[in-house]
Amino acid sequence: MNTKVGYGIALALLLVAPFMIYPVFLMKLLCFALFACAFNLILGYGGLLSFGHAAFFGGAAYITGHVIKVWGLPTELGLLVGAGSAAALGYLIGMLAIRRQGIYFAMITLALAQMVYFIFISADFTGGENGLQGVPRGYALGIFDLQDNLTMYYFVLAVFVIGFLIIARAVYSPFGQILGAIRDNEDRATSLGYDVDRYKHLAFVLSAALAGLAGSTKTVVFQLASLTDVHWHTSGEVVLMTLLGGLGTIAGPAVGAGVIVTLQNYLASGPLGAWVPVVLGTIFVVCVLAFRRGIIGELHAMLKKSF
């Protein structure tokens, strides 16, 4: 019951937030929150550290940008095409990566994502270093003009809520329980008769698709897809967001994304602008050494202690 009240309050805050905070910043925050939640599905619940999620986020960003700008598809369809292509890419990368475990899984996803990065650099439609610019925002459902930031914000919020509900549904379903069992003890899950590779693969594809949805939405908001989106730094950032917020907690990654995006925005305008990677790296080190449960994880632990 408490969690439901909590989510209600959070949703209410998100509904009124654009009247107090710059909507474009909030939209960026929501896109990365969805990205981190999708990533958490595979790391927090599946126990698999993917270091290549930028391929799905950035790949979908480019494809959505292309189909909206060049093919003239409506915005919603563009998002679906982006998420779908991320799912297809996730199917391929996942098929290769789940052949190995642990550290090898991380290295393989990183290497394959780097390959995707090089392909996007040399492909004609991506615009190389300039990125894919001037993607029109279009109309939601054919009537609401997304050029208006407030309308665009509610559209992004709707996408985020849908994505978040899909993730929550997956985590609390029997599928999510089996995934957790595989994470905790893979041999045991195998001995109970579960085809663990199939479950991991499915979780990977789902995570990739939703990461793609986040990237596609980001393209529509900023009307731009760039190499930053597919670069491995982005893969690292989403790991940090998830870790900072709390691995394997449903809301943690969104909180972590909020902190990191706010921090980046704040630092970028100040004298510390050039130090952003150093600050992020330091947070990484501190999180790993002293704060492995993350913000939400620590809160949970504190609540448990005091009641």
Binding site: L49, L96, I108, L110, M115, F118, V239, L280
Partner: protein
């Protein structure tokens, strides 16, 4: 000649082969360092690329501030960076004993961001040239190609270091401890060997290997803060291809992948940036444990 039949002048072919061999030498030394570290710590050292970069920068600093030339740096830079590695292991990585090994990867990733971030801020992203040592300038015309002395030296020096590492691990007392530590650290500890110190030394040694590669690279690639960040991802792919089980495997795979990359530059230049990743994908399908890995 065969090369003429394929429409490629031999100078181009052998030139790229040599470049490939040099890149392969770097892959070999770097993946060897990763394998040494992995053996005892069970973590993948994400900071390897950043420490390789520090090796090159140490070379540059030694020349600029202390007047120490290339040959001195070849000894000193690995020692300096190796000492830094010992500090990192002792005060940071040591705290993660008993925690999921993925956290070790994340910690070293964070360190790489910090180290590279600081150097980008201080020196910009562009490179600083470092002169080729005077003894090795120039080259020799072999008839079918021109061989610069320095490039030949890079390959030879890398092979010497790889062979020395093999001798250290396979033919010495401390090497037998290191191998035992890889196999079963608890048992080794029970026999009275100080395993934590051994682990620290292994990390220091692996890091020193990275710095050694950095010194070798300084006259070739320029000294730049991000020289290691893309390289390390390729080295990860090399490690996946070869498996981290053996020293010989790491070295052979490294050299072979460099040559494959060089040949791709000749015959299909567009794919040269991705060919190693493609090979990795194929190996994962056919032989998931890696070419030299023991199947799980």
């Amino acid at each position: 000649m065969l090369t003429d039949l394929l429409g490629i002048p031999p100078q181009v072919l052998f030139g790229q082969l040599l470049l490939g061999l040099i890149n392969g030498a770097f892959y070999a030394v770097l993946s060897l360092g990763l394998a040494v570290i992995f053996g005892l710590l069970n973590i993948v050292n994400f900071a390897h690329g950043a420490l390789y970069m520090l090796g090159a920068f140490s070379t540059y600093f030694l020349a600029k501030y202390l007047g120490v030339g290339y040959w001195g740096a070849l000894i000193l830079a690995p020692l300096i960076v190796g000492a830094l590695g010992i500090v990192i292991e002792r005060y940071l990585l040591r705290r993660l004993t008993g925690v999921d090994h993925l956290y070790g990867l994340l910690l070293t990733f964070g360190l790489a961001l910090v180290i590279e971030g600081i150097f980008v801020k201080l020196f910009g992203a562009s490179g600083i040239p470092y002169p080729t040592p005077p003894q090795l300038t120039g080259g020799i015309n072999l008839g079918f190609m021109f061989l610069p002395y320095y490039r030949a030296w890079v390959v030879v020096a890398s092979l010497i270091v790889c062979i020395a590492t093999w001798v250290l691990f396979e033919r010495t007392k401390i090497g037998s401890y290191l191998r035992a530590g890889t196999e079963n650290p608890q048992l080794l500890q029970a026999f009275g060997v100080n395993v934590p110190v051994l682990t620290t030394l292994a990390y220091g040694y692996g890091v020193a290997l990275a710095a050694f590669a950095g010194v070798l690279a300084a006259p070739i690639t320029q000294v730049s803060p991000l020289m290691g960040s893309n390289l390390i991802i390729v080295v990860f792919a090399v490690v996946v291809i070869g498996g981290m089980g053996s020293i010989v495997g790491a070295v052979v795979t490294g050299l072979a992948m460099g040559v494959v990359e060089g040949l791709t530059k000749v015959f299909w230049p567009e794919a040269s940036a991705t060919v190693i990743f493609l090979v990795m994908a194929i190996v994962l399908v056919l032989r998931p444990a890696g070419l030299f890995g023991k199947s799980a």
